[in-house]
């Protein structure tokens, strides 16, 4: 909301983008979810993707992380055209994602969800096996870093509270994030302490040169960590702004799709 953030905001504008998405369209049957969106992420920046409900943000990042195949449009990864067939491909290329629906298996334990698809092993050859102790220790530790004290690493994810579950997804993505970290409304279910931890974490990984894509409906969170802001509306992009080029109020108006809002600015101090 103000420019005097304690975070360092990287000026990574000159670096080559890690991922470039050009004129992405995505149709589901007769539903047009994306009608031509362009976007890029550079190393060491946090690029916020904002917009109204149903604007197409989640659909867009899903094409980036290999879940959806775009109907039209081109994706360049480190300058080369990329064609991820599965999320696993994207992951192996270094893209870690927190999906809005979290992509967790309710019946499985926290640890098994944490390491799902990338299980640590010990031993070798035919004796290579899942390293349960190590996995448990890492999962509990990473959760603690985010401000959640779990009762134990073997509680089923389905019995966790909403925020605990979201934290598992975030901790997992951060732990495995290599080049790009995509966070789709990561703080929606989080408590204040957990939220501030996540925002601090975003700052930390950005400083390590990782590109972060951050989706949020909270203008204040976006402004707290974002370097650039792209706003979507009804499947189209309304343009990208750099940090400092736009005021919170302008940004909030864009996010609301330019439509008039119910009158309560007074009590919320300008931004919701």
């Amino acid at each position: 909301m103000t420019e005097d953030s304690k975070f360092h905001h990287g000026d990574a504008n000159d670096a080559a983008p890690i991922v470039q998405m050009q004129n992405i369209e995505k149709h589901f049957g007769n539903i047009i979810a994306l009608a031509g969106v362009s976007f890029d992420v550079k190393p060491g920046e946090c690029h916020c993707l904002l917009g109204d409900n149903g604007a197409g943000k989640s659909t867009f990042i899903k094409t980036m992380s290999g879940v959806h195949k775009p109907t039209k449009g081109e994706i360049l990864f480190e300058g080369k055209p990329m064609n991820f067939n599965t999320p696993r491909d994207a992951m192996e290329a270094g893209i870690a994602t927190v999906f809005q629906d979290l992509a967790m298996i309710p019946l499985m334990s926290v640890t098994r969800n944490f390491f799902m698809g990338r299980e640590p092993t010990k031993g070798s050859g035919i004796l290579k096996r899942y390293d349960a102790d190590h996995a448990n220790a890492v999962a509990m530790e990473e959760m603690r870093k985010m401000g959640i004290n779990l009762r134990g690493p073997d509680q089923a994810v389905g019995t966790l509270s909403g925020g605990e579950r979201q934290t598992v997804a975030i901790a997992r993505a951060v732990y495995f994030g290599a080049k790009i970290l995509i966070l789709d409304e990561p703080t929606s279910a989080l408590g204040v302490r957990q939220t501030s931890n996540v925002l601090a974490t975003i700052d930390k990984v950005r400083n390590q040169g990782i590109g972060v894509v951050f989706i949020s409906h909270n203008v204040r969170h976006a402004l707290a960590v974002g370097d650039r802001f792209t706003v979507l509306n009804r499947g189209k992009t309304l343009g990208t702004a750099k940090r400092g080029e736009i005021t919170p109020e302008e940004l909030q108006d864009l996010m609301a799709g330019g439509q008039e809002m119910a009158q309560l600015e007074g009590s919320l101090g300008g931004t919701v």
């Binding site: 992380s65 879940v67 599965t86 999320p87 696993r88 992951m91 192996e92 994602t97 999906f99 629906d101 979290l102 992509a103 967790m104 298996i105 309710p106 019946l107 499985m108 098994r112 969800n113 390491f115 799902m116 698809g117 990338r118 299980e119 092993t121 290579k128 096996r129 899942y130 349960a132 509990m140 603690r144 870093k145 401000g147 004290n149 779990l150 009762r151 134990g152 690493p153 997992r172 931890n197």
Partner: protein, 368 residues
């Protein structure tokens, strides 16, 4: 950021007895059912049921079923069904019989060929399910009919018109691999035990139990292996994840399609193993082998705590489930009940076993 370590007692946890912890595991729930069934037959059945030979006697069908059930359980945990395993037993049996009898291949070729062949058919099953997105129920159901039909046609071609292919026992008699897949293991040991009087003998002095039927050994080995894979390897985690939520697993980087197709191949191989063992044991194969075994395998897996919707279950559960089922089926013959009541009895015992199982688990774990 916090000082509460997971090992320090958490005030948000009640203490829990060791027994309660045990019963929470899906693999051990079915034990209550086993105990119940044992008690029931202990009271009603002829004493010979729980003699050594009686034990081997009900464990043999339980093992044959169990090998299928463990395959089916893994597949069910992975979120799919295979209704074609019963037909696969007949079809793989035919293929094996033709290899051995018609083509005269030695076992060292015939057995791997049979497994390869089964895995291939299982792979087709899986690939169609995955590619088309159709439920595996309907796809493997089609294969239930197709494989059963092909077994009939194949048998008629191989035998020139009969639905029964004979002569397998003669063909494999002296093969060095045969003892691994047929007959009884450790015959020497048991003869010696009989001589020392530790094992009961028939009037003519031969031991009542000539050895441990190989299928029992296979059954135990496969149950242990499957448990190891499920609980102690990344592949096990992938199986649970694929069955728990296909999209979530795939989005988290689990190669869901690969996992599922492998499971279909595995299940088919389990069916082939049962086919090889039973064909070598009986010396013949016919078009009705394995009839409805797919059904029984799923029953055993479900008794053992597998969810039909996938993502939950265990190999050990299927192990005990098969034993319950096998014991109930054979046990009746040791009692004085009229055969007319067999099915009523079978259904009743199954129901009571799972209800008991469930009640005990809820009781112990305090679920509501």
């Amino acid at each position: 950021m916090s000082d509460t370590s997971p090992n320090v007692a958490d005030e948000r946890l009640k203490s829990e007895s060791f027994f309660a912890k045990l019963m929470k595991r899906p693999e051990l729930g079915a034990i209550a059912g086993v105990i119940l069934v044992v008690i029931f037959f202990g009271l009603t059945a002829d004493g010979s049921m729980f003699s050594l030979s009686g034990f081997m006697n009900f464990m043999t069908p339980a093992s044959q079923l169990g090998i299928l059930a463990i395959g089916a359980a893994l597949l069910m945990i992975g979120g799919e069904f295979d209704l074609s395993i019963g037909s696969m037993v007949a079809f793989a049996g035919l293929f094996f019989g033709v290899c051995v009898v018609t083509w005269g291949l030695p076992l060292v070729f015939a057995i791997p060929l049979t497994f390869l062949f089964a895995a291939f058919v299982g792979g087709i099953n899986g690939t169609i399910c995955i590619r088309s997105g159709l439920p595996s129920f309907i796809v493997t159901l089609a294969f239930l009919f197709i494989l059963r039909g092909l077994s009939l046609v194949g048998l008629k071609m191989a035998t020139g018109g009969s639905t029964q292919l004979r002569g397998v026992r003669d063909a494999v008699e002296n093969d060095w691999l045969a003892p691994l897949f047929s007959g009884d293991a450790f015959p020497g040991l048991f003869t010696w035990l009989a001589e020392t009087g530790l094992v009961a003998t028939f009037k003519n002095g031969s031991p009542k139990v000539p050895g441990i039927p190989v299928e029992i050994l296979w059954f135990i080995v496969i149950a242990l292996l499957a448990t190891y894979v499920l609980l102690r390897t990344p592949a096990g985690n992938w199986i649970f994840a694929s069955g728990g939520d296909r999209n979530a697993a795939s989005n988290s980087g689990v190669p869901v399609d690969r996992v599922k197709i492998s499971l279909f191949m595995l299940t088919a191989c389990c069916a082939a193993l049962v086919a090889i063992i039973t064909v070598m044991d009986s010396g013949s194969t016919d078009a009705r082998r394995g009839f409805q075994k797919e059904f029984e395998a799923i029953i055993a897996a479900v008794i053992g705590g597998c969810l039909l919707t996938g993502g939950y279950g265990s190999a050990i559960g299927a192990f005990f489930g098969s034993i319950i089922f096998g014991m109930v089926v054979i046990g009746l013959t040791y009692t004085d009940f009229d055969q007319d009541w067999f099915q009523v009895f079978l259904g009743g015992m199954l129901l009571i076993a799972v209800l008991f199982n469930n009640a005990i688990r809820k009781r112990v774990t305090g679920e509501r």
